[in-house]
């Protein structure tokens, strides 16, 4: 074991997709350690491999080279210690909110009474108790994502992998859900890897912001945020936040020049 504190360890991960005869390097030699209880956000332009990185950690994709470790053991597939939340909510449309939340408990063989009790608890936590027996089609986007969050929490994962979970929501709902997410996180500090394309969101939530670059997908910059800061409206409007935001913004939107240079040097060494 290289780092004994790392909850998640990504070691030299490369992912190459075959597109007909061409190949596409979605991730190029990405390494990243995340400690227990960290809240890491990943931000970067579309196509820089954020989802690919998350899918590898979720066990839905396998790296072409390198490896991903969780709690020191290689990721071989999905596992109950890793909860995943997708941008498209991915609720089962034929199941009610309650049945969706119970899904993971059923697959792990939790008995009926216990299942029901636990589902109830998490449905309440996300404020959907009035809609427990509603079908997803009757819910708004924000409510659907809250249901997806309750479903992930219900199996009690120690890691949450979230792929642009609030990306499709309006700004108000998004801020509300960010605060709810931080609130639950502060009560039960899971390790979170949160992907977003929104700089504000990345800065507000994170204890560490990872900026990625595309072609090939790689880590471009890392910005630490003092974990002691209380994440509230005051922080959101502070000059400290503005400075961090500016820093991350530059990293995300002004990587062009160096990107070209770096990928050139990459291909010459490869």
């Amino acid at each position: 074991m290289t780092t004994k504190t790392a909850k998640i360890s990504v070691q030299g991960v490369t992912k190459i997709f075959a597109l007909g005869r061409e190949t596409f390097t979605a991730l190029d030699n990405v390494s990243l350690d995340i400690a227990d209880h960290e809240f890491v956000t990943v931000v970067g332009p579309s196509g820089c491999g954020k989802s690919t990185l998350m899918n590898i950690l979720a066990g839905l994709e396998t790296p072409t080279a390198g490896r991903a470790l969780v709690d020191g053991s290689p990721v071989l597939g999905p596992g109950p210690e890793r909860g995943v939340i997708f941008q498209q909510y991915a609720l089962f449309p034929w199941l009610t909110v309650r049945q969706n939340v119970e899904f993971g408990l059923r697959t792990s063989g939790v008995p009926k009474g216990e299942r029901r009790r636990r589902a109830e608890h998490f449905i309440e936590q996300v404020g959907l108790e009035r809609f427990a027996d509603a079908l997803p089609k009757t819910l708004s986007g924000g409510m659907r994502q809250r249901c997806a969050i309750a479903r992930a929490y219900a199996v009690d994962p120690s890691i949450l992998l979230m792929d642009e979970p609030f990306g499709a929501l309006d700004a108000l709902t998004r801020v509300k859900l960010q605060e709810q997410l931080l609130h639950t996180w502060s009560q039960n500090k899971r390790t979170v890897l949160f992907i977003t394309h929104d700089v504000d969101e990345a800065v507000f939530l994170a204890t560490r912001v990872i900026v990625m670059a595309a072609r090939p997908g790689r880590i471009y910059d890392v910005i630490e945020v003092d974990p002691a800061i209380e994440r509230n409206e005051e922080f959101r409007l502070s000059s400290e936040f503005a400075a961090l935001r500016k820093r991350v913004w530059h990293s995300v939107y002004h990587q062009e020049g160096r990107t070209a240079f770096q990928s050139a040097s990459h291909s010459s060494t490869a």
Binding site: G79, V84, F103
Partner: protein, 257 residues
């Protein structure tokens, strides 16, 4: 919020009224044509013949004979099509092996199989049911297969990260997600089975709606032919409505209906 509600209730009623008007108009035109000397029985003659055929039990027996054939053939066809469609959608090897046969038989109208079926299986119920089976099977297997192939990858991934293994994913994600496709396939299959039935009875039968019309043809008995046609239409429509109802019930979770 009563205005839009009333409006939508009105919008639902209007097509029904139009439908009724259209049917009545059709019957009126038929009547006019029949009395104007076209070789047609009048609606009245058809109704009175229907009364006779119902009274002496012929129509009931024929309808039961036809329905029994179609339901057995359709049930067998669907029962075979759903697992085969699932296997094709789930295992690409099986798909590669089965698909050419299905595509080939799909291009042959089931009626063209009748001569072969009669020679191989005789002239009793077996060839008729077989041809109906084939018609229902081919219609349903394709759409079941399409349904499985079209299952949203994200839903399968969501199930996997919640700890579901292949069997669970199949039973709790793939089956419900493809139900809408299967039900559409069943409706197409039933229509196809019904169409095939009548033709199968035209060839070799002692009972059934198709047989009755064939028999009436020998005696230029137009009213009986009309009764047969209308019965076939009404029974087909009723069966389709039953499946439509089942579809609404089972796939009500779908968005935008």
């Amino acid at each position: 919020m009563t205005a839009p509600e009333r409006q939508s209730a009105g919008r639902r009623k209007l097509p029904l009224i139009l439908n009724a008007v259209s049917v009545l108009l059709g019957i009126a035109i038929w009547w006019v044509l029949a009395t104007a000397g076209f070789k047609l029985p009048t609606p009245l003659e058809v109704v009175s013949r229907a009364g006779t055929l119902i009274g002496n039990g012929t129509l009931g027996e024929d309808a039961v004979a036809s329905l029994t054939r179609v339901l057995i053939g359709f049930a067998l066809g669907t029962a075979a099509a759903i697992p085969v469609g699932f296997l094709m959608g789930w295992y690409s090897v099986l798909r590669g092996l089965i698909e050419p046969w299905i595509q080939f038989f799909r291009t042959i109208p089931p009626l063209a199989i009748i001569p072969l079926a009669v020679v191989v299986m005789g002239i009793d119920e077996t060839p008729k049911i077989f041809v109906i089976f084939l018609a229902a099977f081919l219609a349903c297997v394709i759409s079941t297969f399409q349904g499985v192939v079209n299952v949203d990858r994200t839903l399968i991934n969501a199930a996997r990260v919640l700890g579901a293994k292949d069997v669970t994913i199949f039973a709790r994600v793939v089956v419900p997600a493809s139900t809408p496709f299967i039900l559409v396939g069943m409706r197409v299959g039933l229509g196809s089975a019904w169409a095939t039935l009548v033709a199968a009875e035209l060839i070799a039968a002692q009972q059934g709606l198709g047989y009755r019309m064939q028999n009436a043809q020998l005696y230029y008995d137009l009213p009986t032919i009309f009764v047969g046609l209308i019965s076939i239409g009404i029974l087909g429509l009723l069966m389709d409505r039953v499946l439509l109802l089942a579809e609404r019930k089972l796939t009500g979770w779908q968005e935008r209906r």
